[in-house]
Amino acid sequence: MSAFFHQLVYFARTALRGLRASPVTSAVSIATIAVAVIPLGGLLVITGNMRALLDAYGRERHLTAFLDPQLADAQAEALARHVGALAGVAHVELVSREQALERFRKRLGGSALLEALEENPLPASLEIALRPEDRSAERVRAVAAAIEKLPGVDEVAGGETWIEGYARALALVRGAGAGLGAVLAFATLLVVANTIRLAVYARRDELEILALVGASRTFMRTPFLIEGVVQGALGGAIGLALLYGAFRVVVPQLGDALELFLGWSDPSFLSARGMGLLIGGGAAFGLVGAAIAVARTRIS
């Protein structure tokens, strides 16, 4: 155990010495990984926000029932209670005409168009959340039909048509991300593998000497694997930092457009898990690249 620990210390020292010995090639390798991480991380940010929107939608609103404008408040409340008791309904929220107008105003940011209105044109509505087991497109349609038949309900908007489109767009972005990821991962592996190969060649005299004094193959190879991991993790962390910088600069500039086209009112950056995934992924690619390099280079 202690021999293992002492060797670990030796490996780490040797790996760092290796990185310092060839700073330019190491920097190129790290930069390549960073450059590959930026678009991949960007796609993760986009899909993450799309997913969050879908999830929020799934949690909060599945159906909206627009009520007859003639309906009194007490009747609307009674209707809400009735709908809340229907099979498949998890939760109902009554949005009064005033609340609807207030929301609309907020969203448009005090438009002159609204100021010109003499009367509130918006109906009251019920925002209906369904139980998780009743969220399939089929069940949503069935529940919507049942609600639509109730007296006092003018129209039920399912929302499932845009939600399906949105879900398809998310799948498309994910697919494109996976494809781009595969290409970038391959390029990254090649660069890391070549960098480590150069490092192996640069130190072949040293490796020959190590072999002569009785170093095992694992002993000779491990520092190169650690070098790969360090390069990968550093590249991942630098790429992530650059991506975060870009996120902070770009998102405020595009705020309104993002809200209008994608429905993101407050886009979030990657979760801790997502960030760990990028850095860990960088490290993993560094390790695999280094493993390819040492496997293809004769060390004995």
Binding site: S2, A3, F4, H6, Q7, V9, Y10, A21, D205, E206, E208, I209, L210, A211, L212, V213, G214, A215, S216, R217, F219, S300
Partner: protein, 246 residues
């Protein structure tokens, strides 16, 4: 440093092996590269604590024989037993364990130029995963033995040839190997430095290490008067005992 005569008694005989037992045995060993033979039907034994010179003209097979002893080459025919291990059948994973017990010194020193003298010596202990404190203590003690403790923080290129070979010798001996193999260790050194190195090698033999030195320096062989094996065109043509007529 040490006089001629029978090998000094061993300080620490390995378990199950009596002092004087053969540590190196070759049975009809040949080594060929394609159609040309580097060694042809060589049989010999070297006992524990013996110091043996291996001599012969260039291309006689001295280096090949040395390489067979630390498994840098495998025999084409015949059997080689080093420390009881059959080198011809040794798996690749078994080579490091053998090399940790066979110290090797070369004519061109084979030191890592980018590491300090102390680090070069320490390497032989580090590959065995020895604790840093032990590595430092043993490296220092070994450098002191070869008279280079004051140079331990310098890098090999700043040392003279003789000093570099002393570092290489320190690295080869720091693990207290059972066998020391030295291939033309003084080939790059002048007469005074040659004796300095050879005295250290003979001192290792006096401590119980089995030593094989390849050299074509006949003056050296006469001076130390040890058993001498002569190779010619890959064949063992002469095996003179210590102090034997030449």
């Amino acid at each position: 440093m040490t006089g001629p005569g029978p090998a000094a008694p061993t300080a620490r005989p390995p378990a199950g092996r009596r002092a004087g037992d053969p540590l190196i045995r070759l049975f009809h060993v040949s080594k060929s590269y394609g159609a040309s033979f580097a060694l042809r039907d060589v049989s010999l034994e070297v006992r524990k604590g013996e110091m043996v010179f291996l001599t012969g003209p260039s291309g006689a097979g001295k280096t090949t024989l040395m390489k067979l002893l630390f498994a840098a080459e495998r025999p084409s025919e015949g059997q080689i037993l080093v420390l009881g291990r059959n080198v011809g059948r040794l798996r690749e994973s078994g080579i490091p364990a053998l090399r940790r017990r066979v110290g090797v010194v070369f004519q061109d020193f084979k030191l890592i130029a980018t590491r300090t003298v102390e680090d070069n010596v320490a390497l032989a202990l580090e590959v065995r995963g020895r604790p840093p404190r032990e590595v430092r203590a043993k490296s220092f003690a070994m450098l002191k033995r070869v008279g280079l403790q004051h140079r331990r923080h310098q890098h090999p290129p700043s040392l003279s040839g003789g000093e570099q070979q002393r570092v290489a010798l320190a690295r080869a001996l720091v693990n207290e190997p059972a066998i020391l193999v030295a291939d033309e260790p003084t080939g790059n050194l002048d007469a005074a430095l040659t004796l300095e190195i050879m005295d250290l090698v003979a001192a290792a033999a006096a401590r119980g290490t089995t030593v094989m030195v390849a050299t074509h320096d006949q003056a050296l062989i006469r001076r130390y008067a040890r058993r001498t094996l002569r190779l010619d065109a890959g064949r063992l043509v002469e095996d003179l005992p210590a102090g034997g007529a030449r």
